[in-house]
Amino acid sequence: MNFMLGITPWPVASALLWITLITAALYLIRNTAHRSIQAAARGLHRSFRIASKAVSRSETNLAARNRDVLLAAGREAKERIIEREFDRINETVRKDLANYSALHRSLSESIGRIEKDHQEAVDVPPDPPGWVKAVEAVADMDAKDGRAHIGSILSDIHKSLIKAHKEAMTAYHAASAKRHKLLRHMRPDWRRIQQTLGAVGKSVDSLLSRSVTIDRHMQEYEEIVRGQDRAMSVLSSSSLVNFFVSAFVLCIAIGGATINFSLIARPMAEMVGGTSLIGNFRTADIAALVIILVEISMGLFLMESLRITRLFPVIGALPDKTRVRMIYITFTILFLLASVEAGLAYMREVLLHDELATSALLRGDVGATATGEYMWITTAAQMGMGFILPFALVFVAIPLETFVHSLRTVVGLIAISVLRVISLLLRLLANLSLYLGTLLKQLYDLPLFVPLWIEEKMSVGAATGRDQQAKGARL
């Protein structure tokens, strides 16, 4: 600095000299500097634009991939649902159609019996009365011959009539009773027919409702196959919902696993020792954790073998016989582990009592060592939890599968958003660099305002002179 101000005996003059020299130099290289600034700004602009386009292309590719993944997942889920619906229909049809011949026979037999009973129950025409012959005899009788006997004949007729009436009434009552009996016999058949037809009606209704459901699913499936936007948005939103719900359930499961861990970690020290360490962790804690993880793994395999989840296609593709064997094996291991846990939970309670008694003894509080009357409740509760929690953890497989599947979509969506933001930022930077170039040029010109002003004046003067010369030439 001293050197700069020491080029003349007067520092102010030196400073002015430097300013003039620098301004002159800057003015001389102004065009070159402007071009350089502009080139740099354009270069940056172009680079940022290219980067932005590349990121946009990546975003588009990722969106397409995400779309494919989502559609594939949706297609698979729909196929599974439709498959299950068909299975149910198959089951209903198999059950009902298998019994159809027996049903038909039962209905035919019932109808036959009803027909027979009906025929038998037809009203029998009464026999002609016995007194008809007597009337005919009286009619044929000569008026003279028979007059004396008419009174007795009529009396006989009257008697016969009464007798015949009684007999007819008795017969009629007997026939009516028989008919009623037959009609009573028909009643269970009617009911059976009604019940059978009702069952058939229910089956048919079930089939119809299932067919409606299948229709709906098929329509959605077709939309997915066609890759329609509506299907995409539905799948996307359902995937997000699945993600959050499964994450929530997994958090609950983690809470359960933590409680399970605290139940067995302490008594595990009885088995593997309380002081040995693996890394910075107690071996007992790691052993407890391993037991819980093995239980969860067994639960996953069990769910896979039951074909409830499809995380491991190898298990799903196993022959049915092997799969059933696997179900038994995994369930047995799970049962044994649950029993071990129940035992450990019991051991924990025993250790806790022992520790409390020792602490009380060391405190000199002997009265506190007495065991409570209801302590068995906590012991039983702990044992119950130790036994139940492993089985409850089996069901983690379901939200885990949903979480894994929806995670792909969610991660894809997040990545797309991030790429979109990056692309936007790069585009902004591209524009910014362009304006920055203009700003830098203006800033460059700022200290050169004196020579620029002179230049402008000179150029105006020169232009005026040229105009005047031109006018003079024309004149």
Binding site: G274, T275, I278, G279, E355, L362, R363
Partner: protein, 213 residues
């Protein structure tokens, strides 16, 4: 190939073991002064022992020894134990230890002389043999050493890595007359301990034992 991977995993796990970090267990050796009137303070010592027992855990070591005429002897150890790995065994050991100490407190007779240095040497020997990570020596005494004629104790006790804590350092009648005696006694012991690399502390308030271990 698979065996190789398995072996590598085992080696990694083994290398993660606690051996590299050294032992993390605690060793405590407590010296009980049974000389003269201090013998009456043993009830308080029993409380401290019980407190110490409640603080110790698996694989820790604990020994209680009396200070008498010649304390550099295993015979003066009243009770000693190294706690098991299993929690159930630890509780049993603690109860047995407490019973042994109680029995001693009930039947303890006053000693004629006070060989604190011999007891310290015995404590150092015991704890070094156990090889515990932390080594603590508790001295329950008025710190007034009174050696029988012929006993040589003007030797430096190697206390590098040891915490020496003096508990319940009561004032003698002579200390009341001239408190400088008490202070110089404390200073002398502090100097002896710190000279050979040990850490020195005094706890007279037995209600504040939380920082003991």
């Amino acid at each position: 190939m698979k065996h190789g991977i398995l072996l590598t995993l085992c080696l990694i796990l083994a290398s993660c073991g606690n051996d590299a970090a050294g032992p993390r267990n605690t060793g405590v050796y407590m010296l009980l002064d049974t000389s003269g009137t201090y013998n009456q303070e043993l009830i308080k010592a029993e409380q401290i022992i019980r407190f110490t027992l409640s603080r110790l855990d698996a694989s820790d070591s604990f020994a209680v020894a009396r200070i008498d005429t010649g304390s550099f002897s295993e015979k003066d150890i009243i009770a000693k134990t190294s706690f098991d790995d299993r929690p159930s065994a630890i509780n049993r050991q603690k109860r047995e230890f407490a019973q042994q100490v109680s029995a001693f407190v009930e039947t303890a007779t006053p000693a004629q002389y006070t060989d604190i240095t011999g007891g310290l040497l015995q404590a150092v020997e015991f704890l070094n043999e156990k090889g515990t990570g932390t080594k603590t020596i508790l001295i329950f005494s008025d710190l007034k050493e009174d050696l029988e004629e012929g006993y040589l104790r003007d030797i430096d006790v190697p206390l590098e890595g040891f915490d020496v804590i003096a508990l319940n350092v009561t004032k003698l009648r002579s200390d009341n007359i001239d408190p400088r005696e008490y202070l110089s006694r404390l200073e002398e012991w502090q100097g002896r301990v710190e000279k050979t690399g040990g850490q020195w502390r005094v706890i007279n308030d037995l209600d504040g034992l939380e920082g003991l271990l």
